[in-house]
Symmetry: C2
Subunit: 371 residues, 2 copies
């Protein structure tokens, strides 16, 4: 087992591997059970069913090619992230703190496409984006095009809390990071052999494709330049978290390295408030998938708009957008979502989505496939 | 009269100055009259009431400090932009073409904070953002942090039509511009003495402010670093256009130089799809104002969500968001909006908003204040 995988398999995290794996519906059903239990204690004013839901990316994840060791490592890392967020919430901390804590664990893990382990862009660099939003205040912070910030979610949070702005990009964002004392690292910190090889394969595939004349006016869909050479097992390993704290306040955050071999300063949906990240007093969402579709359809905001204006249950709103609107448009991916009652939805239209949930009982529920 | 102002006063554009100036309600009333007229021709299937609505920025614009010559020049430039968009629509062209044509006129005019005449950032550079969205297909293109692209709206459109991406920023976006043959200019092209002096005043004010110790954790609101020294007559001179073509398709676009003395690679709402720019088959919006609020409240998307989900008339939806939601949040600015029946709304909560409308009759209606 490679060292990073072994390190990720902490004893506590191993608990997750022994649990039955909930799919999106199963998670929600579990929550429904808890609702019944908690509301029987105090019918007039049920305590907020606080908790945290996370994702570690969605895409074509084939059961047969996900061998036991990497699968165990990913499950353990997700459980560790859940525990980090849960620890904050359990002692009465804020949902913003919980989201930050959970995402930092996944950024620090080489298993996800965020922070350490991010994919490489066309120029062989790691280029990181992140966003966070406080549902109660509707304050938000977003950063894009980072090369030296160890934890982009922490910089997004500094933008939210320590600047009059919402979005900062590139060198300017890194100058702000320096000013705020946010940890900077050399570019080499982000290097992983697996992601480097993925870039080499993408560059080779691109070279082959360029021998054929390009189609004029490419549509706004997946370009093979950005996929693995055989189109299989590509995944969008963006990470995200949505939390509801004991005061009933929601927060959502997302962090990503974008797409392998991306160029032209491409920015995906993660740092776009309303597209890949959104929270308001009723509803919080973090997305993962083909970012261009998430931006065009304003996926995160649309789910919450359906909750607010159509008064749909969260699960129905999330399912409509991910399993109907996005599917019809051709946009692959998924979301995690939570409402102010603590209901959870994790729909995805791809083969798999790394995801997990932890409520007051502190038991991690982690899943990858539709089960 | 300075040469740029004189050049802007074309004979045709002068027509606008003679017209009574419609405010948002007056514009809509005018449209209501046209609806009655056009629907009498074919009650079963009224022709789409095609047209174009534009803005040239909102903010504190004091009547007493807007002297006749600059006012006439701005009105003439708005009329010229309307005519450029109208010319496209009148011959059956697309709303995307009309929006592009109208915005290019305003980008080329030194009177607006977009393209030539953009404000200077903290480093004394012009840094341009733009976005465009095709309501019919929901395709979108956005660019940010440009220093050499003469017409950012044209590059946003190239991103939409010639790339698989939605958003490109900085040097990467300019590399794409070069590849696509989009016109590049030296940085000096964007220089105007007025904007340069505005930066010098902002820098001086900032220096004075820095002598007092800064408040920890500035709120996400206006920073005096970005305003004129006395807080008066600041305006957000972003430009935008929304058009409905004869086929009943909507498009929206926005272009801006951002805020004077901005730093840290700040990106405002203009290139954020759903915040400052949005179009779908029912509704198109372009915003201008304090961008951070427009992003946090997803202003453009929210107006269209209220039209779609609450089935509100466009004017009511736009008024709710701009005159209620934004006002309560403390967000200054305005929007132009159009629906698929050709109804128009132009609410703003600031003292003034440069705006104009032109329908099938080709008569420009231009306004600045609430009248």
């Amino acid at each position: 087992m490679p060292a990073p995988l072994r390190r990720a398999l902490s004893a506590a995290a191993l608990t997750a591997l022994l649990l039955p794996l909930g799919c999106s519906t199963a998670l929600t059903t579990k929550r429904e059970e808890e609702k019944l239990m908690s509301s029987s204690d105090d019918v007039s004013k049920p305590a907020p069913r606080w908790g945290i839901v996370i994702h570690g990316g969605a895409g074509v994840i084939k059961r047969e090619s996900l061998t036991p060791e990497p699968e165990a490592a990913v499950r353990a890392a997700l459980a560790e992230a859940l525990q980090a967020g849960h620890a904050v919430l359990a002692k009465g901390g804020s949902s913003v703190d919980a989201v930050t804590a959970a995402i930092r664990v996944m950024e620090d893990s080489p298993l996800f496409n965020a922070g350490k382990g991010a994919v490489f862009n066309h120029d062989g660099k790691n280029e990181l984006d992140a966003a966070i939003m406080n549902g109660r205040t509707r304050e938000a912070g977003a950063v894009a095009g980072l090369h030296h910030v160890k934890n982009p979610i922490t910089l997004a949070r500094a933008v939210m809390e320590k600047s009059p702005h919402v979005m900062m990009v590139g060198e300017g964002a890194e100058a702000f990071a320096k000013q705020q004392g946010v940890e900077l690292v050399p570019e080499s910190y982000f290097f992983t052999e697996e992601r480097w090889q993925a870039l080499q394969r993408a560059l080779e595939a691109e070279k082959k494709q360029q021998e054929a004349p390009p189609e004029p006016g490419q549509p706004q869909g997946p370009s093979t330049f950005y996929e693995t050479p055989d189109g299989s097992d590509h995944k969008f390993g963006t990470v995200g978290a949505v939390a509801l704290d004991q005061s009933g306040n929601l927060a959502a955050g997302t962090s990503t390295g974008g797409m392998t071999n991306k160029r032209f300063g491409r920015v995906g949906d993660s740092p776009i408030i309303g597209a890949g990240t959104y929270a308001d007093p009723r509803c919080g969402v973090s997305g993962t998938g083909h970012g261009e579709y998430f931006i065009r359809y304003g996926v995160a905001r649309d789910i919450c708009a359906r909750v607010e204006y159509l008064q749909l249950p969260l699960l129905e709103a999330a399912n409509q957008v991910v399993l109907d609107v996005l599917v019809k448009a051709g946009g692959e991916g998924g979301v995690i979502a939570m409402d102010s009652q603590g209901n959870v939805a994790t729909p995805f239209n791809s083969t798999g989505m790394y995801r997990g949930y932890m409520g007051p009982d502190g038991v991690p529920s982690v899943a990858i496939f539709k089960e």
